[in-house]
């Protein structure tokens, strides 16, 4: 096992690109719609149903086909289903907050509930992207119209233009009552989405 010089930590395995052929076979529909518990099961997580949708675009404005997207969020009361919160009274047993989808075209649609605000944060969803050409990039998306956006530490750490690139626009609602939010993620170029460094932070 290799070790970093001067450190007791093991040297991490390099991240590498998923390539273009992440198997569709590994798709799990229960991770694409977190408002549904499973076929034939009565019940639902607490909270306002929302649909977060949009496009993932490359440097030339073309759709980033074959992108793998992962989502992580708090429940409607702002509690994450993390080991630190084990036994927390506000955990929702019907919601664990992790989602995943692979988009063949680069357009995406993720059905979930509106996360609650937690610990002086505005409601947000962490998005991880894997695709051909990159290994892994991470960002956080916020929702138009939330007052807490003005004081959120992540948004405040960015300039005004970059803030706008992370705030999903409200786009009406479905007949079923889900609120629609729209966000394009631009991987590179003029209108590039801000991405975050979770190794050096």
């Amino acid at each position: 096992m290799t070790q970093d010089n001067g450190s007791n930590l093991l040297k991490a395995t390099n991240e590498d690109t998923s390539g273009p052929f992440f198997p569709i076979y590994f798709q799990d529909e229960s991770l694409e719609d977190l408002t549904v518990l499973g076929p034939g099961i009565v019940g639902a997580p607490s909270g306002q149903h929302i649909i977060l949708c949009g496009r993932v675009l490359d440097r030339h404005g073309n759709l980033a086909n074959g992108v793998l997207m992962e989502f992580w969020q708090a429940n409607a009361k702002g509690i994450y289903n993390s080991p630190d919160n084990l036994g927390h009274p506000d955990l929702d047993p019907w919601f664990n907050g992790y989602g995943r989808l692979r988009s063949a075209s680069g357009e995406y649609k993720f059905c979930t509930i509106m996360p609650g605000a937690s610990d002086n944060r505005a409601p947000n969803i962490t998005i991880t992207l894997f695709s051909d050409g990159i290994s892994r990039i991470v960002t956080q998306v916020f929702f138009e119209g939330h007052k807490a956006n003005e004081t959120d530490p992540v948004l405040k750490s960015l300039g005004t233009d970059d803030q706008a690139r992370l705030i999903a626009r409200h786009g009406g609602h479905t007949d079923g009552g889900a609120e629609i939010y729209l966000l394009d993620i631009v991987m590179a170029g003029a209108n590039e989405t801000p991405f975050f460094d979770d190794f050096e932070s």
């Binding site: 590498d16 073309n62 980033a64 992962e70 892994r136 590179a188 975050f196 979770d198």
Partner: protein
């Protein structure tokens, strides 16, 4: 004020990397928000009992073309703690360099006895093991004659450990020109499987590939 972290590199001769790699440096996450960036993937035991043996499509079926190999290793975080109950999703091209994927338009030969996708879960000591067919290299850039060296894709998820990586093979002529290998620099060595003797096994070659999930994201597990 925005504070900046790493600037991601663009893989040489990789058009997709040029199109998709962020040009601005990554932003540092304010410390009060750091934990919110740590996804916790629930334990997912989604695998079929036979999937550890990718050398054939189902028990009793003939083996795919090419060389059957074993790949095994231990999954740990940077502190050396084994990560158990993690799902490893595996995919690799067949002996001819073709993926059984609807978007693989290479026209290379499919193998009726090779599926090329499988899943295993790490045991309580973080160990994993699977069999597959040694993948073929394939011509990724016909216009400039650049090949993708033989490689196996592995996607690891469990607790807050999340890593997509590739295992490469030692002494392959195409390793040196691979864009991702070039970006890894000297660290590329860590992504090469270490050969071991398999005379007592029903495979022809064995490769040890220990995986270390880095970063503070691997803090939570189990």
């Amino acid at each position: 004020m925005t504070q900046f972290g790493r600037q991601l590199g663009i893989g040489p001769t990789d058009n997709t990397s040029d199109q998709r790699t962020p040009r601005k440096p990554l932003r540092l996450i304010p410390s009060v928000a750091r934990e919110s960036f740590v996804p916790v993937v629930p334990a997912r035991y989604v695998m079929r009992t036979h999937e550890w043996d990718m050398t054939r499509i189902a028990p009793g079926r003939p083996r795919g073309d090419g060389t059957p190999i074993e790949v095994k290793g231990t999954l740990r975080n940077e502190n050396g703690t084994p990560i158990r109950d993690a799902l490893i999703e595996i995919w690799n091209a067949n002996h001819h360099g073709r993926y059984r994927h609807v978007e693989d338009a290479s026209g290379l030969q499919l193998d009726e006895n090779f599926f090329g996708m499988g899943r295993v879960v790490t045991d309580e000591d973080g160990n994993y093991c699977f069999w597959t067919i040694s993948p073929g290299a394939y011509l990724a850039r016909p216009d400039i004659g650049r090949w993708r060296p033989k490689h196996i894709h592995l996607s690891v998820s469990g607790g807050s450990a999340r890593l997509i990586t590739q295992m490469y093979f030692p002494d392959e002529p195409n390793n040196a020109s691979d864009p991702m290998a070039i970006l890894m620099g000297d660290g590329f060595e860590n992504n090469i499987g270490k050969p071991y003797e398999t005379s007592d096994l029903d495979v022809d070659e064995g490769y040890r590939f220990d995986i270390v999930v880095g970063g503070r994201n691997a803090t939570f597990f189990e």
